[in-house]
């Protein structure tokens, strides 16, 4: 399961999607909207994607996870649109025979997603102003 969605993410559905009889470990990561970035108060985030490229990069990350670890299932789901504080913006789940590889595979998937997938968030302050977050390095640079 690899997709972008404008609907709320159901963590149980994402977890169920990766369950496998050969796998004794299922690891789930949820990214949620935080109310503070440093001292700046956020009331909502707007997420935007370059859809076709984001879906392609998510699929490539899932394939790389399968190549590196003995994965039963991998799921990467990112929400788009306006999200309130506390809502789930991203869900990633991996199943593996054992927990160590499940944790490693999940961490790689989330770290790589944050580095490569063309999705951007705008932080909206209580005064109605919004700021696109572009503080990371040039994406995809080698």
């Amino acid at each position: 399961m690899v997709r972008l969605t404008r609907e709320p993410i159901d963590p149980a559905a994402v977890t169920d999607a990766v369950r496998d009889p050969h796998c004794g470990a299922v690891a789930l990561f949820l990214g949620t909207v935080r109310d503070l970035t440093g001292d700046a108060v956020t009331v909502a985030l707007d997420y935007e994607a370059y859809g076709p490229m984001a879906e392609k990069k998510l699929a490539e990350i899932a394939a790389e996870v399968r190549r590196r670890w003995p994965v039963g299932g991998v799921a990467l789901v990112h929400r788009l649109g306006r999200l309130a504080v506390g809502e789930v913006s991203v869900a990633a789940a991996v199943s593996c025979p054992h927990r160590a590889e499940a944790f490693d595979a999940l961490r790689f998937a989330v770290d790589t997603l944050k580095e490569l997938v063309p999705i951007w968030k705008k932080e909206n302050a209580p005064d109605g102003t919004g700021e696109w977050q572009h503080q990371s390095a040039k994406p995809g640079a080698r």
Partner: protein, 81 residues
């Protein structure tokens, strides 16, 4: 040849458009595209230096030659997750 370049997030806000048209000679590279974009929309230049360029949904190096039907996009530093 005229190429349409897709813009996202702050790049779109700076250009006040979700795409811009740039004129490039045959055989132009991603580096040429960057120069043409910065000339066409000067306010975009600082962010452009921190951004990647995507060709057909993959990150492209500056020496990549652009073909007529390529889908081009400016990818500012990403902030998903």
């Amino acid at each position: 040849m005229t190429h349409r370049v897709l813009l996202f997030a702050a790049a779109r806000d700076l250009a006040a458009a979700d795409a811009v048209a740039v004129e490039l000679p045959a055989g132009a590279t991603v580096a040429d595209l960057r120069a043409a974009l910065a000339a066409r929309v000067p306010g975009l230049a600082p962010l452009l230096r921190r951004s990647s360029v995507a060709v057909n949904h993959d990150f492209a190096e500056d020496d990549r030659v652009i073909a007529p039907a390529d889908e081009l996009a400016v990818i500012p530093p990403v902030s998903g997750g």
